[in-house]
Amino acid sequence: MSANQGKPSASENDWIRITSNDGFSFLVPRKVAVVSGTLKNMLSTESNFAEAASNTCPMSERGVIVEKICEYLTYKALYEKAPPKEEIPDFLERLAPEISLELLMAADYYDVPPPLP
């Protein structure tokens, strides 16, 4: 386990780096990243995982998949609490069929979104 970087990493406003397996990295706010159950566990301060200490989550997916996952997480974080009257854009049209199978498996693994309690 790498050494903690001086300060605790639990603050709400910091950024999480998500890296793909082909060298891309994406920065998202913590509150966006924790929409995914798997990422939430990775980043949980209780777990003592390296991810929590470094605020970096490696995803073993291609960059294009990671990008789409980040896009969905942001979309979900933004609109989940939206008032009922607000128009929510359809995410479906942003999904290209070429990546849908790969994305399905990734989404399944990363638990997006986590099941209801």
């Binding site: 479906l92 999904l95 069929p97 070429e98 199978l101 399905l104 498996m105 399944d108 979104p113």
Partner: protein, 604 residues
């Protein structure tokens, strides 16, 4: 009714019918006038107005009006079909108003004051048409004067209702209040009304649909990314190219993902179909209808291995089509084929003598006759599972004995828990026990320690998996004795790799020590769920005794605590899953390790 000639244009069937029944525009108009009830103004329908207009004008012996009516009633059909866009409607109204205006001009020439005599029905229409009229040309403007029956024509002389003076009616003349009569300009002004005030714009009626205020209590559900992906996949299911390189991906993983979302449908199941397929597994076939199962057979004719979970909608017709449609099938695993009846089972079994694996769970209809057919037809059977079969009883075992090549045998959770007697099971073991590597007799409540001594010990030679869950007659001392003496002279069974004796509440430390002694070195999976009496020392020794352990269920073992978990984490390098449901002594501080899934830690 008189006509100048008898030439009639084409009319609709409805008009023809109405005419034959004596219902003509004339009669309608007459009735409308005599009734004196204002026309209900609810619907924005065009047709009613057309009718009314025609009626109102063609009222008195007016041939012109009659023609008009026929024209209008033809439109009645049309407007029915093309329930109009608002713009269109307006246009037709304007045209109609023009027609009206023309006609009125003629009428004016013939008989003055006829406008005044117009029936009430006409009024309503005029009111509705007001807005349109405003936008129209001067030609129509003339008709406006005529349309207001309460007012004399402009230019007429009238006597003022108040001062009794004669005055000229103008556009601004007001009616007296209270009626009847009209006021001259001076009196109108004196009474406080501004004659030059523009009439308030008539309220535009809203369509009824807009008025309703429906409150939705439905909570908006946010679609998950998985479900969105599945939608895309389903949409493009026929377009294999669009879905990218499927071959490079693990189809089985996709199948699992679809199953987890319970979204495998007849459409997207095609993703997994291929003529060359020999193996197919669908983890959740809940949404597949019988026809989809038949499609499955015809699109995968070369299957040798088929597993379908939750195939509850499968019925006789499916089994019958599989009898011919899947000629090469060797292994069939079904969860929940409730609806398949005896004749269908028989037909399928008899058409597949080469069957090697027959594994079914939950069938209330699979009976002795089917079992007999299976034994007589499929002599090469190596795997047999009859789990949760409602009609299972001792006689089934006579036929189980006939399978000489069995390696995998599961007769668990019978419909009646004590349906299978211990003696019959021992007898069966004598015949098939030698070859078995997997034995599952869970929830056969008649099993006692005696079965271990007389059924397993003498006959089992290659057993690696033993599952005896929920067999509450087993005793701690008996099981301990069995494991201590298994491997003595005359019994040469290798240590077990998979042992499940969960929910046997009498078992405890002695049995645990003995089984660890016997199989500990090889155990990969151990389930001692519910061994409430197992002592702390015995539980602690699991870690040292089982170096290969990957999965352990210690649920409801009361003595389990953080220290035992610590031993396991430190010593069992291959551990992947640890279940500790109901272990009250475990705290939040219990040691964890990466890659070990710990389930059931519940602390207050």
């Amino acid at each position: 009714m008189s006509r100048r000639n008898n030439v009639r244009g084409p009319t609709s069937a409805l008009t023809e019918f109405l005419r034959e029944s004596g219902i003509t525009p004339t009669t309608i108009a007459r009735r409308a006038r005599t009734r004196e009830v204002p026309q209900p103004v609810a619907g924005p329908s065009n047709t009613g107005q057309d009718d009314e207009d025609g009626g109102g004008e063609g009222g008195e012996e007016n041939a012109n009006g009659d023609d008009e009516q026929e024209y209008a009633s033809d439109k009645l059909d049309e407007s029915d079909e093309e329930e109009p866009a608002p713009k269109k409607r307006k246009l037709s109204k304007a045209a109609e108003a023009k027609l009206k205006a023309k006609e009125k001009a003629k009428q004016k020439a013939k008989a003055k004051g006829k406008g005044k005599a117009k029936g009430k029905g006409g009024d309503d229409d005029d009111f509705e048409d007001d807005e349109e009229d405003e936008e129209e040309d001067a030609y129509t403007a003339l008709s406006k004067m005529w349309k207001d029956p309460s007012k004399p024509p402009v230019g007429n002389f009238e006597e003022c209702a108040k001062c009794r003076k004669q005055f000229t009616v103008t556009k601004y003349t007001l009616a007296a209040n209270p009626p009847p009569g009209y006021l001259c300009h001076a009196c109108a002004k004196a009474s406080g009304n501004d004659p030059f005030k523009k009439p308030a714009a008539p309220k535009r009626r809203k369509p009824a649909a807009d008025k309703r205020n429906v409150v939705h209590f439905e909570e908006r559900r946010f679609p998950s990314l998985s479900s969105l992906c599945i939608q895309v996949i389903t949409k493009h299911i026929d377009d294999v190219e669009a879905l990218g390189d499927i071959g490079g991906l693990n189809l089985d993983e996709i199948s699992k993902s679809l199953a987890r979302n319970r979204s495998l449908t007849a459409e997207n199941a095609q993703l997994f179909y291929d003529v060359a397929n020999t193996k197919l597994t669908l983890y959740d076939a809940t949404n597949l209808l019988p026809s989809a199962f038949c499609t499955l057979a015809s699109l995968n004719p070369n299957l040798t291995d088929l597993r379908l979970d939750f195939c509850g909608r499968m019925e006789c017709s499916v089994m019958e089509s599989w009898a011919t449609g899947l000629p090469n099938l060797k292994r069939l695993e079904l969860l929940g084929p409730f609806l398949v009846r005896i004749p269908a089972w028989l037909k399928f079994i008899k058409s597949h003598p080469q069957l090697e694996g027959f594994l079914i769970t939950q069938s209330p209809r699979f009976d002795l006759e089917c079992m007999q057919a299976l034994a007589n037809t499929c002599k090469a059977l190596t795997e047999l599972r009859l789990k949760e079969i409602g009609k299972i009883h001792d006689d089934f075992l006579i036929f189980v004995k006939k399978f000489k090549k069995l390696t995998y045998l599961e007769l668990s959770y019978p419909g009646v828990p004590d349906a299978l007697s211990e003696d019959a099971l021992i007898d069966m073991m004598a015949s098939v026990g030698k070859g078995l590597t997997h034995l599952d007799l869970s929830s056969n409540t008649q099993l006692t320690d005696g079965f271990l001594y007389e059924g397993i010990k003498p006959f089992a030679t290659q057993l690696s998996t033993l599952i005896l869950a929920k067999t509450p007659e087993l005793t701690d001392a008996g099981v301990a004795e069995f494991f201590n003496t298994w491997g003595d002279a005359g019994t040469d069974n290798p240590p077990l790799t998979y042992l499940d004796m969960s929910r046997n509440h009498q078992l405890g430390s002695k049995a645990l020590d003995a089984l660890l002694q016997h199989s500990g070195n090889n155990l990969i999976y151990l389930n001692i769920n519910g061994w409430k009496a197992a002592s702390q020392d015995s539980l602690k020794s699991i870690a040292a005794a089982c170096p290969e352990l990957t999965c352990l269920d210690m649920g409801w073992c009361r003595e389990v605590d953080d220290w035992i978990v610590k031993e396991l984490m430190e010593q069992c390098d291959k551990m992947r899953e640890l279940k500790v449901w109901g272990c009250q002594r475990i705290t939040n501080n219990c040691p964890r390790r990466r890659n070990v899934a710990m389930q059931g830690v519940c602390t207050i």
